[in-house]
């Protein structure tokens, strides 16, 4: 297993380099220019040119690429064109809110969706199955921002149970931290609950039709034991895969949720940077996201061995 992990991590290095090259080229050739944004709406061409030279944006492609790669090797993601702050500092400021939101969303989704999906499979075509279907359809079809607005209206404005927006770090206490994250987590979690519920239901339903389940039943084993010990465990591999894929989808959903709930996370940092053409931030955040995705995939692969003893690396 250790050799497998090391092999996978080494294999990730060319992937990260490729991502870095692709994002650099995309930004280089994309329309837009940070100098025009810094100079402002009423700037003259002369002023814009002066700023472009000062930022080094007048340098040819190979020079800028060389500087970028050299800094990357040194672990330097550069400084923001606009705020002059190091990209690592800006990302560090934003990492905790996004990480908190992501982890809570995945936890909530798994805790709600796996039992609901298993229950729906166990009671297929009955009321609980129909309820799970309704939850899934709603989760898939109602956009994250609509859910967010509804939650704000009901729970923040009408009932005043939770704050409308913002983020309180965990260091200020679990209560305030959670209070700010309940509504965003519910909002973002809807689609993942829907996805994992459907996958769990399908996986468990398939397992329940296997011979060894029939044998277990014939031996007089109770339904609860069959579902939790046999069916769910054997259906865990596709569920883990979907949870892993869900993390990638979640990174997209986080942008919308962070905007609706004004959470200062990495998603908003990235969107703001794209709108302003703050190249170092865009490059830094994309590399971070690529790294997260690689690690999540690795975790999913490791989880296969945990859920299925037949899998060995």
């Amino acid at each position: 297993m250790l050799a497998f992990i090391i092999r996978r991590l080494l294999g990730a290095i060319p992937v990260v380099v490729l991502v870095a090259l692709i994002i650099f080229c995309l930004l280089y050739f994309a329309p837009g220019d940070p100098a025009t944004i810094i100079a402002g709406d009423l700037a003259t061409p002369e002023e814009i040119d002066r700023i472009r030279v000062a930022l080094g944006l007048d340098q040819p492609f190979h020079v800028r690429l060389g500087i970028f790669l050299l800094n990357l090797v040194k672990g330097d993601l550069g400084t923001s064109i606009f705020s002059n702050l190091p990209v690592t500092h800006l990302i560090a400021q934003r990492l905790e809110p996004t990480f908190s939101l992501g982890v809570l969303t995945v936890l909530l989704s798994v805790v709600v969706a796996v039992p609901l999906g298993a229950l729906a499979a166990w009671r297929a075509r009955r009321a609980v199955d129909r309820l799970a279907l309704v939850v899934s359809v709603l989760g898939f079809s109602v956009p994250v921002f609509v859910v967010g607005y509804l939650l704000i209206w009901v729970f923040a404005i009408k009932l005043a149970w939770f704050p409308v927006q913002g983020y309180t770090p965990l260091s200020h206490g679990v209560g305030p931290w959670l209070s700010n994250l309940v509504l965003p987590t519910l909002s973002l979690g809807m689609v993942y609950i829907a996805l994992i519920t459907r996958i769990t239901r399908a996986g468990v339903l398939e397992v329940l039709s296997q011979d060894y389940i029939r044998t277990a039943r014939a031996k007089g084993m109770g339904d609860r034991v069959i579902i939790w010990r046999h069916a769910l465990r054997n259906a865990a591999v596709p569920i883990a895969t979907v949870v892993g894929i869900g993390v990638a989808l979640l990174l997209g959903g986080v942008v919308v949720t962070e905007t609706v709930f004004a959470i200062p996370g990495v998603g908003r940092l990235l969107v703001d940077a794209i709108l302003r053409r703050d190249y170092p931030i865009i490059q830094g955040v994309i590399l971070l996201l690529a790294g997260i995705y690689i690690i999540v995939n690795l975790c999913v692969d490791i989880s296969y061995a945990i859920f299925d003893p037949r899998i060995r690396y």
Partner: protein, 530 residues
């Protein structure tokens, strides 16, 4: 290696613990209920801290919290001494001597000296168009002693103190000499001024939050505050800018009392806020904004005067204002190159804006050769995008081959600098918005510059209007009115742009917030919290 489920769970728990431990590294929370803290939702994000490199409104507004200026302006746009005790002009009008008030200090505790002012003004003068004019007319600017600076001019220039009181960005803020010596095209790294608030750099999260503390060492003037002049009395301990990008969320946060003042609420949500008894919707800026159509004078078809005149004649300002604002009590028609309601606005020559569609169509028919007209539009700015849609419709009805090209603001700004033909990535028309401080008079009005490729995109060339501007800059005050009339008339004759009326943008604040000053920008001094 074999990983058991137990080991896996233990590892997960450790990861969660590490997350909890690292939480202390991140920035402090948004204040939900803090005493004597003014929590504001600014109109847009503070992305940088250099008010000289960046002329955008958020940085200018940030600048007014932490910096001071030698002169301020009142709501009638009259110049008043601010950091200066006063200014004396020599008999020949060529030497201006400005003496600083006693007791002025920077936030780092250092005294404000004349040499700080000299360095700051020189840096500003390298970036700002009016500053460039001032320094073009200046033989020497020097610090005579610690509290006195002196301008020696090449010729009489009555606008010197007005320039030093300029509100529109870049504003002539005073910063320590060591910071002001930074290249004017490179952003400064420290935000230290002598203004009524201190910038708390450690708490700055670009895109989310900017925090200021009351500067205890600030010495306000004795006069009552009036716009950017007078005594800047600070009654709150802390000022927090919370960037809430979503208008509906910002509105809800204001209703809920999580923030106190929302500088620029979305106009579509204004009725909701107006109905809330806890909220006051009142504009801090009574003049607001003016949108204009800007033509590309370098490329067909708007390099031809008849084409520009046809559009000018066809424009019905109400169509634009309805699309942009929709509430008649918030807008008014204004056929002027300047803001109606200011002394500059004469309306001379504006009768050509007759909103006569048929006549305009006939005029266009004689000059239009079927060229494609490209209108780039930034969808990020809804009010400018709305104006672009109205123009697209107008041109289509006139029989023009028009293409609206929607894009984000970053792409739009870049696209606008292209002088190429439309088929090579150029453009024909764009829409822009001015606040009153941008176009207060001919000295700052970029839309009226007509020095070709050196000026703002659109690049008109008109030596007459340039000469009139130069005359106005050096004329005695009693003669300036007549020159402004000529400038306006010339603008309607040559059509460097078409004004589309002006509208107010109310701000919304909780009724616990009192003392809001009227000004073209949101000011945090004089504000009290109940």
């Amino acid at each position: 290696m074999t990983v058991t489920r137990r080991a896996f769970l233990a590892g997960s728990a450790m990861a969660a613990g590490a997350l909890a431990g690292s939480a202390g590294l991140s920035a402090p929370a948004i204040a939900q209920t803090k005493k004597n803290v003014l929590r504001v939702v600014p109109a847009s994000n503070l992305s940088g801290i250099d008010p000289v490199v960046t002329s955008g409104q958020p940085v200018r507004n940030h600048g007014y919290q932490i910096y001071d200026t030698l002169f301020g302006m009142n709501t009638r746009f009259e110049v008043k001494p601010q950091m200066a005790e006063g200014a004396e002009q020599s008999a020949d009008g060529l030497t201006w001597t400005i003496r600083l008030r006693d007791g002025l200090k920077f936030h780092d505790g250092e005294k404000v000296l004349a040499r700080d002012c000299v360095a700051s003004l020189k840096r500003w003068g390298a970036r700002d168009p009016l500053g460039q004019t001032i320094f073009g007319l200046t033989d020497e600017l020097r610090a005579v002693d610690d509290r006195t600076l002196e301008f020696r001019l090449k010729s009489r220039f009555g606008l010197l103190t007005k320039g030093l009181a300029k509100i529109g960005g870049p504003a002539p803020f005073i910063m320590p000499e060591r910071i002001a010596q930074t290249d004017p095209s490179v952003s400064i790294k420290e935000a230290i001024g002598s203004g009524p608030f201190r910038f708390l750099a450690d708490e700055w999260v670009p895109g989310s939050r900017a925090v200021y503390a009351k500067f205890d060492g600030y010495v306000p003037r004795d006069e009552a505050p009036d716009c950017t002049s007078g005594g800047k009395m600070v009654h709150v301990d802390r000022l927090e800018w919370h960037v809430i990008p979503d208008a509906a969320t910002a509105t809800a946060a204001l209703q809920r009392g999580e923030v106190d003042w929302y500088h620029g609420p979305d106009l579509t949500l204004l009725p909701l806020l107006s109905q809330d008894p806890a909220i006051n919707t009142e504009a801090y800026d009574d003049l607001g904004y003016m949108t204009v159509i800007r033509f590309n004078h370098l490329q067909p078809p708007f390099d031809r005067l008849e084409m520009r005149r046809a559009i000018q004649m066809a424009v019905n300002q109400v169509d634009y204002l309805q699309a942009q604002v929709g509430m008649p009590d918030l807008y008014k028609e204004c056929r002027s190159a300047f803001f109606c309601g200011t002394t500059m606005s004469t309306g001379a020559g504006s009768e050509v804006m007759a909103a006569n569609f048929e006549k305009a169509k006939a005029l266009l028919k004689s000059s239009y050769k079927g060229e494609k007209v490209a209108i780039p539009t930034a969808t990020d700015l809804s009010w400018l995008h709305a104006a672009s849609l109205v123009t697209e419709d107008l041109l289509k009805r006139m029989g023009v081959n028009v293409e609206l090209q929607a894009m984000d603001l970053g792409t739009f700004y870049k696209r606008r600098t292209s002088m190429e033909p439309v088929d090579k990535g150029g453009w024909s028309i764009f829409h822009a918005g001015f606040s009153v401080t941008d176009i207060l008079d001919p000295s700052t009005h970029l839309g009226l510059r007509a020095n070709g490729k050196q000026t703002w995109p659109g690049w008109p060339t008109d030596p007459v209007i340039e000469q009139l501007r130069d005359e106005w800059m050096t004329a005695d005050p009693q003669d300036q009115g007549a020159i402004v009339r000529k400038i306006e008339a010339r603008a309607f004759e040559t059509v460097p742009f078409v004004p589309l009326g002006q509208f107010q943008t109310p701000s919304a604040r909780r009724r616990t917030v009192t003392g809001m000053l009227k000004a073209p920008l949101p000011l945090a001094w004089n504000i009290k919290l109940a």
